[in-house]
């Protein structure tokens, strides 16, 4: 368009319609942002709901086990745990509870093996921000067991059980330090 060129009526109508379309686009775009934010919030809420539902289900499923643990009846707790595990084999929470019970019973190698299986299945158990976290219990176990496990292995390197126990404790230590699977 040259400077001396005049806009006719048709051009003016065209420009007017173009301005309306541009305005509509801006309004539509602005309107769509809150909708996107709502989707993100919904996903977070879905995650939260799933976590709460899982927590509720686990609490209900394992209530006989945790009840016996609280009463100091560790052997009874282990037997009740066997029953739950037979119905839900491979559930991380069962392995973590087994680790906790064996830890309280002083069977530290068994406890480490239980925690390793649980943490490998679900990293939430070692995450300090998770509601399922057993980080403190695992930390205490590693601190308590690692020096003796290292010296036991050094004194008998051919013993696979000592090697496995040391490997389990080192795995837990690396996960506590932030290492990934």
């Amino acid at each position: 368009m040259t400077p001396n060129m005049k806009l006719d009526r048709f051009d003016k109508i065209l420009l007017f319609l173009l301005a309306i379309a541009a305005s509509a686009l801006v309004v539509y775009s602005a309107g769509s942002f809150p909708a996107k934010t709502t989707a993100i919030e919904t996903r977070s809420m879905e995650r939260e709901l799933a976590a709460q539902a899982r927590a509720g289900l686990l609490e209900k499923l394992y209530a006989p086990v945790t009840g016996a643990m609280q009463a100091g009846q560790y052997q009874e707790a282990l037997l009740k745990l066997e029953e739950v595990i037979s119905r839900y084999p491979g559930d991380a929470h069962g392995f973590i509870l087994k680790g906790e019970i064996l830890c309280r019973m002083g069977v530290l190698d068994g406890a480490a093996a239980g925690f390793v299986r649980g943490v490998k299945l679900n990293g939430d158990y070692i995450d300090k921000n998770s509601s399922f976290s057993k980080r403190d219990t695992i930390s205490v176990l590693v601190e308590k067991s690692l020096p003796s496990a290292q010296s036991a292995y050094k004194s008998s390197r051919s013993n696979p059980a000592l090697k496995e126990n040391l490997a389990n404790l080192n795995y837990l230590k690396s996960r506590l330090a932030g290492g990934c699977e």
């Binding site: 052997q75 009874e76 282990l78 029953e83 037979s86 064996l102 068994g110 051919s158 013993n159 059980a161």
Partner: protein
Amino acid sequence: MTLPFRRFPLATIILIATLVILASCKDQSRKVVKIGYMNCNNEQETRRRFVPLTRYLSDKVGVEFVMVPVDTHDFEKRFNQGEFAFTHTNSYIYMVLKERNNLKLIASEKRGNFGSRSGGAIISRKGSGIDRLDQARGKKFAFGPMLAPTGYLAEYDLLLRSGIDPEKDFASYTIPSGSYKHEKLVYGVLFGQYDVSAATLLDLETMTKEGKIAADDFNILAQTPLVPYCTFGAAANADPGLVDKVRKALLELKATDTAEVEGERVKVLKAAWIDGYEELADKDFDLLREMAKRVNMPPYQKF
């Protein structure tokens, strides 16, 4: 050109026949070593569990191992008669043979929640009104087999340490007859034959896993310390090189290892109901020795 086989046919036939005979004699020329296996419940079960393991050891070590099922009460006598050089027994029989015959420790079995260790418990039926150990006084009690470390010795010791003398403080006590004594104890309490009984933790665990009992059926009134589980041993004069090979083969045994039994490939650990093997030190059995001394049982019995 003429082939040498055509020139000396008789020599060729003799050579081939010799090779065939030598190949077929390979197994028979292997050294034969006997392993005495303590019957846990009965001979049939012992064979079913340990024939694959014995075959695995033969394949791995290069010696022809032969399994000899032995009644627990005859074990020491038959070992002393030189019937077998290697032993597979519970930890109590190991302890006795160590004390009297300097039996060498090879490796211990891992099974269940406590690995190479196991313990005993004293149980009553839920709802029986017997919720504490002191309430067992004056009741009908049952022990497991007398030579069972976690079915008799550990519980007897626990009772004594808790101020209950089984000889004086129960209305009666008994040991079930026949085989499967450990299971009979548990069912005996469940169905009211006994008020209270000893029970091995491993049996409670296994029976719960198999759905034979429910954890809620019983009160666990007390639990014994954990002591070593079943163990392989070797006579003091056994070839040390062979002992090392057997130990290595046991420690290396994995869940996927198989052996051929009557034309069938069988998973060795699964058949034997074992999770694996672990090398223990003789001092790990000291807890059991202290128990035997307190209960006044062989090999420390005093009259």
